[in-house]
């Protein structure tokens, strides 16, 4: 019985997912990404020119320079929302929501 309940609970808790933000054509795709705590976010730069994805405000994470084809992984540990920019191209914006 208890084992059965545990299995049921385990089934309700979705396993962590990996989400990808593609940087192409000088934009973040998707520009707004919603993930669950425990999920992994991967940024990949498909453009010829280097970019960054750099959190603004209180959240602190930064991909640093990503050249063409380079990826950076971030594990979403705490719920919250963060806006981010490319420090090289301040007209490029994105947002991550962690639930």
């Amino acid at each position: 019985m208890i084992v059965g309940l545990l299995l049921l609970l385990a089934g309700l808790t979705a396993p962590p997912k990996t989400h990808t933000v593609e940087i192409r054509g000088m934009e973040f795709h998707p520009a707004v990404l919603t993930v669950a705590v425990g999920d992994t976010i991967v940024w990949i730069n498909r453009d010829i020119v280097p970019h960054t994805a750099t959190a603004k405000g209180q959240t602190r994470w930064d991909t640093g320079q990503l050249v063409q084809g380079q990826v950076w992984r971030y594990v979403a540990r705490r719920a919250g929302a963060a806006r981010y920019v490319c420090t090289f191209h301040p007209t490029m914006h994105g947002k991550v929501v962690i639930r």
Partner: protein, 181 residues
């Protein structure tokens, strides 16, 4: 005045066809490659002036981005030219670009501080607008090789972003101090 000198160099070629619906200058692919490489190199050289002419952090960051991006594009263009066996060939368009760059540089060189910031950012707005026009009206239509054309199309959003960045930065700069007027 600066962006005008620069923009004229490019648009003179584009507008040559304006009166009659004559075709744009028919450049060969090696000539297109040369125009692309020249256009990138000009903006890199202009950006290299910046650190010794201003302490404005935003302008310096913009110039660093110009060097990084146009260098990356030229590396890609060079790799593609090698792959395609294309040797970039000098032509009237790249020569007029170079002439415009030389005069723009001569006007920027004596300036420092806020006056330099305004003149440089004016130049960058005009230059990136002219390059966008050249990509759309001249380079893409005339390019035969699909990979070379794709490279031009892929580069376009970066140039458009530089233009927006330049316009925004220019609008943030203070107007010149009104002395004696």
């Amino acid at each position: 005045m600066l962006p005008i000198a620069m923009t004229l160099a490019l648009t003179a070629v584009l507008q040559a066809q304006a009166p009659a619906p004559a075709p744009a200058p028919d450049l060969s692919d090696p000539e297109v490659a040369h125009v692309a490489v020249t256009a990138n190199s000009i903006d890199i050289d202009m950006a290299k002036l910046v650190p010794s002419h201003t302490t404005n952090a935003a302008v310096r960051q913009f110039a660093t981005t110009m060097i990084t991006d146009h260098t990356a594009v030229n590396a890609q263009a060079g790799a593609l030219a090698t792959k395609l066996g294309v040797t970039p060939k000098d032509n009237a368009v790249s020569e007029s670009l170079q002439t415009g760059a030389t005069s723009a540089r001569a006007s920027l060189e004596p300036l420092h501080g806020a006056a330099f910031d305004r003149a440089y950012m004016d130049h960058e707005v005009g230059y990136h607008q002219a390059v966008l026009d050249a990509i759309d009206k001249l380079l893409v239509p005339t390019t035969e090789n699909a990979e070379l054309r794709k490279l031009l199309v892929d580069v376009r959003p970066a140039i458009a972003t530089h233009l927006e960045h330049a316009k925004h930065l220019r609008s943030q700069l203070a107007a010149p101090a009104r002395t004696g007027k």
